[in-house]
Structure formats: C-alpha cells, structure tokens
Symmetry: C2
Subunit: 308 residues, 2 copies
Amino acid sequence: MAEKLSLWNDTPTRQAITQFVQQVTDASGSSFVPLAERVAVFDNDGTLWCEKPMYIQLDFILRRWVEMAQENPALREQQPWKAAVEKDYAWLGNAVTKHYRGDDSDMPTLMKGLLSAFSGFTVEDFAARAGEFLHTQSHPTLKRPYSQCGYAPMIELLRYLEANGFTNYIVSGGGREFMRPITQELYGIPADRVVGSSVSLEFREDGDGGDVLSQPHLDVLDDGPVKPTRIWSRIGKRPILAVGNSNGDIQMLQFANRPPRPSLRMLILHDDAEREFDYVAGAEKSLELAKQYGWTVASIKNDWKSVF
Amino acid sequence: MAEKLSLWNDTPTRQAITQFVQQVTDASGSSFVPLAERVAVFDNDGTLWCEKPMYIQLDFILRRWVEMAQENPALREQQPWKAAVEKDYAWLGNAVTKHYRGDDSDMPTLMKGLLSAFSGFTVEDFAARAGEFLHTQSHPTLKRPYSQCGYAPMIELLRYLEANGFTNYIVSGGGREFMRPITQELYGIPADRVVGSSVSLEFREDGDGGDVLSQPHLDVLDDGPVKPTRIWSRIGKRPILAVGNSNGDIQMLQFANRPPRPSLRMLILHDDAEREFDYVAGAEKSLELAKQYGWTVASIKNDWKSVF
C-alpha cells in the first residue's frame, strides 16, 4: 500500500503513516481496529488547503464587507469594514495571529463584522454564494483557482485512508457552511462530514415549506478544546487519526489518543517558502507538544514531492 | 420495487411511498433527484420505535433517578426523583403531553432532573450504560426486549430507501447519545447520522489524551422549529422525505418541501390498541396539517401487516 502515497517522499513521515495503517488493518494483529472505528479527522485551513497570506474564507468575507460598505458608507470608517475597503490586510492577519497567541483583543471587532456579513441569508443562498466564490476566484499570490488550492499529498492521503476502510471528516475552525459547497469535489468529503464553526440558524415557516436563515450570533467556534466536543457531537466516535497544523488543533490531536488502541497524530509543518509558505506563527505550542509526545510532523519541504 | 415493502398492506399509503421513490429515481423523468440529494429524515420515538406508555429513554432515566435517590435520600422528596421512586409515571407522562400541548409548566422540574442525571459522565461511559440498558431491558407492557421495539415496517422502509440510493438520518427530540449505541444494529443508521437532543459537552485534557464530559446544561432540544436548523447544521442538505408522528415533527415535514422538487412527508398514526397503542395526544396539530397539505398518514392498524 505504501507505493500508493506517490506524492510523499520515502521518509520517516510516510513510513509512520503506512505502518499505522498496516497495523490497524491487520486483522490478525493486536492493534487491529474494526472498520466502524477507523475515524480520521482533518483540520482544513493549513492542513488540507492554503491558509496564507490569509484564510480563503477571509477573502470571501472581505468582498462581502466591501459590498456592505458600498451599500452603507458609514461602515467605511469602522473596522473591520475599513480594513476591507482600504485593503489593510495586515490588521486582519494580525488579529488572527494574536488570537492563536492567546490575545483576543481584536476579536470582538472582527466577530461583529463576521456575524453581520451574511445575517438573514438563507443557508441555501449562502451556499450558492460560497460555491460561486470558490469556483471562480483565485489565490492572490499562488495564482491558482481556489478550487485547486487543496494539497495534493493530503488529498492522496484521504484516498489512501478510504481505501483502507477509514471514514474521513473535516474538523475545522473555519466556517462549516463556507466549506461545504466544495468539500465533496475537492476532498471527496460530503457535507454531512464537515464540522466547523457556525452562526446560529433559525427556521422561518412559510405555509407548507420554509427556510433556515443565518442569524447574527455565534453558534460554535470550532477551535481548540471545542474540537473534541464537536467531534463527539457530530461523529459520536473518538478518532484514531487526527491531522492539524496549529495550536487550535492540539486538543483534537490529544483526543485521538486512547491506549491501548493505536493512534496517529500528525502536524503539517509549513517550511517551504518556495512552493507554498514558511511560517510557524500560531503553531508554536503544537510543535512543542509534538516533540514532547512524539506526534508525527510532516514537513512540506521534505515530505511532499509536490504541494498541489 | 413495490413488492419489497412486504410488511405494508397494499393501500394508498404504500402506493404513495413507492410512487414517490419511483418518481425520484427515474433518471428520464422530470422529478428525478440525484443520489446526493436523496436525503430522508426520521423522527425516532413513535416513528421508528415505541414511545408508550413512556419514552424508552425515560425508563432509562427513571432507573438513574432511583439510583441517585438511593445515594442521596433528600432527593426522594423532590420531583422528578420522587415520581421515579414512587413509580408515579402519570406525573411524568402528563408533563410530556402538556409540553406537546404548549404547556411547559412542568418542564423546569423535569429538565433539572434530566440534566443532572448523567452530569460529569464521560460520553464513552454514558454510551456504555445506554447500550447495556437497551440490550438487556424489556418494554414494560409489550414484554419485548427494547432492542426489538423498532417497527418492522419502518425498518423495511429504511432498507427500501437505501436500496434506492437514499441516505437515512434520525432527527429526534430524544437524546442523541442515548440512541447512538443501538441505531446501527436496530436501524442500520450509524452514529454520525443520529441527530437528537443533547447536553453541553466539555473537553478535559489529560496529558496526551483526555475525555469529553457531559455537562448539566441543555445544548439542543431538537424539537419543533429546531429540527430544520439541526437538519441543516448536521446534514447540510434539505431532505426530500420526512417521517414523524407528533406536533414536534411539523416543521421538519414542512422543511422537506421545496417545489418543484418532489417530496414525501408522512405521519405515523397510532390507532392500533391491539398490536401497539392508540393515541393522538400531542399529534393533533400535525394531523390537522396533514389533512390541510395532503401529507401521507400511515395507519398502524390499516397499513402495517405486522408491527414488530
């Protein structure tokens, strides 16, 4: 089976993956895991697709903020609309990096903008908008369509796991409704296996019909210690494999461990300025823990033959 | 395909089901629905299994309340523990019927007992307890093991739909974690396709591991207008088929309608005192709407050859 991971170099990382899969699928071995328990969870931003120079979803929201500021000029003097109109992306990127370092001082401002952006949209209208954006817009520096910003070695890994009886889920801090319109075609992961952050929803009756509408309230911020609780509420099982790339994934990786059952925890290390990006901001603590507990670290530079 | 519903009498109800399935699977017809959109949602209590003389989950909780009252005698003088110890099931049944009639006066008392019953349990310990109960205890009047209280014609319907490319989900007001340990074997519906009510969950770190624990707070009461929002958040699609049996299922049935796409909405009518139970309490409004909008009503007495 190892030869199937053709986009991964022959390194200890690939070996860790293939040995783990061999272990859990060997019905005669002591580490065998039945099909129904072969649950694998993947963060999305920075794990399955690019998250720099900014989250893909942020580009989507920035365009909506510009649209809102065009409709309502008063917004142009308020953050985060001001940053969107002036293309002051440093302010926004900084707010996120600060969050991962434990400083949430810009979060209320950011959240206000995020929560109001699509308030009152039906979930189906929102999905159509997100889908259209993802299928027509391109990454600002890589110049690739967003629909092709998934990491090819990770997509290959998803297929490899499926071929070995795993069921793959996305468990992302990103917006659930934003990702869903593209996860099936990009990753082969259907909408009901996408776990993410979300706003509250409300049903509006309409005779024999009705719509579900987005509300301007946060429902779930699917990050950090919330990830294991959402994994349980949505999947009802403890994963045996978890892959992430930032401090927000720590608890998800921890939760995947339940000795004596084997588990594989992996972090994607962004160390390839030439082919993708080179950064550890927001991932420092997770990389420390990887050393401490022996989690696998996949280096984009050394472990991946190609990135896209 | 019609002959596959062998436990259903040859009535307009069976005809409505088979005609609908034929319509949406006929690739050359104007009502064809692609595989990925063939989403079917089912209420559980009173739709897939018995809910009288009381919810099966209530029996489980009553035993826990008795256990709690044994450990803490002060609880014996407080509702709902008092009702549990004195086997005063009328008080409890009444509280639920009142709820479905719009009178929630007993709800705070009931909720306090429900939320404290398993507070602090890990989700895995809770699942083990619920699974053991469901696999070892029997229905008080039907004298059947709870694990055999699913309605055979409904289980047959689930298989028939699957064979026609549908994906089935449970969307129940009952407890998600309570149902999950038995839905795969009883209905062929895996844990991640069980949507239900739930308490809040919290992750407790434990070095390189950790547990998800039940908290004494309501997270979701998956009933009435909440059902469509939970269908969307968990599935990400609008169903084309919805089956329920009470006023709490009205909005779920409404939401399944999106013309010009065809839909099938069905209510199970409990009118068979001999083989199951005969009651409409808590279903009056849904039955009125069924008449008004032409929803299908399946009579247990007339439409089902056998019940179990």
